[in-house]
């Protein structure tokens, strides 16, 4: 007499494949979403070199606006091309939600970008009272 075959498909046989599939899906999802959040750092910008650069403070809870200034003079904020007027509107919108002391602007300007592209942005920050401004740089040993 043949024993019933359903007995061996019980809790004793643990199939890992669906669990791994789910875990993989979750990892891909979170990785993809975090990549979208960091698109402001993903532009191909060749940063200038400075000795006095300081590491970012990972514990900082300030709202940061990152403006990428490309070598062509184009300014990108959160992946969108903006002009000085639009940049000031972005600042104003952030200032509606955050106090100026909790807001900082980071310029990631390409080495070959002209100051003419950055100056209107600095003026916009000054006009809006955003005084915490920094330039992203590379360390001298990263030439």
């Amino acid at each position: 007499m043949r024993p019933p075959t359903y007995a061996r498909s019980g809790a004793g046989a643990l199939n890992m494949t669906p669990m791994i599939d789910v875990v993989f899906q979750l990892i891909v999802f979170f990785t993809a979403t975090s990549t979208i959040a960091k698109t402001e750092y993903s532009h191909n910008v060749d940063l200038p070199i400075a000795e006095k650069g300081a590491d970012r403070d990972p514990a900082s809870d300030k709202k940061k606006i990152t403006a990428n200034v490309l070598a062509t003079g184009d300014v990108l904020v959160a992946g969108r091309r903006v002009n000085a007027r639009r940049f000031e509107q972005v600042l104003a919108a952030e200032l509606d939600q955050h106090a100026a002391e909790h807001l900082e602007v980071e310029f990631r300007a390409d080495s070959k970008a002209r100051y003419a592209a950055v100056e209107p942005l600095l003026l916009a920050c000054a006009r809006r009272g955003v005084w915490q401004v920094s330039f992203a740089v590379k360390r001298p040993d990263q030439k």
Partner: protein, 145 residues
């Protein structure tokens, strides 16, 4: 005695289920290795703009009477022209030395007057030189309306 063969079958099932797991682990390894290699470490060069919301910095008459370090940058082709209080600096190193000499006399504020044609690597280099020389009160000149 047929029960023993079922144990052997379970062992075979567990063994076969390891293959997709190893596949996935390799996929993850390759994925993270590829993505992690693109992010270079960056640092920040902090600056401070006028906190009052005004776009320009106007030194007080007292400061103007004493002295104000005015650094003017212009660029013709690849060459950077540096002007320090009306005198030409041949290089960034010379600028640094002269700034140190000035700061040995008094702690003075500085204004960077930068031409629109100047490349940002020069701007950052000069700003960085000011910090290295010991300047702490550095302002960017705004264009006159």
């Amino acid at each position: 005695m047929r029960a023993a063969s079922s144990y052997a079958s379970d062992a075979a099932d567990i063994g076969s289920s390891m293959t997709p797991m190893i596949d996935v682990v390799f996929q993850l390894l390759i994925f993270f290795l590829c993505t992690a290699s693109f992010q270079l470490p960056e640092q920040l060069l902090p600056t401070t703009l006028p906190p009052s919301g005004s776009a320009t910095y106007t030194p007080s008459p007292q400061v103007q009477e004493l002295e104000l370090i005015r650094i003017t940058l212009s660029q013709r082709g690849p060459a950077l022209d540096i002007d320090l209080n009306g005198g030409t600096c041949g290089s960034v190193a010379e600028l640094r030395d002269r700034l140190r000499q000035l700061l040995a006399l008094a702690a003075l504020p500085a204004v960077l007057d930068i031409g629109p044609e100047v490349e940002m690597n020069h701007v950052v280099t000069v700003y960085d030189t000011c910090l290295v020389a010991g300047l702490t009160d550095i302002h960017f000149a705004a264009p006159e309306k």
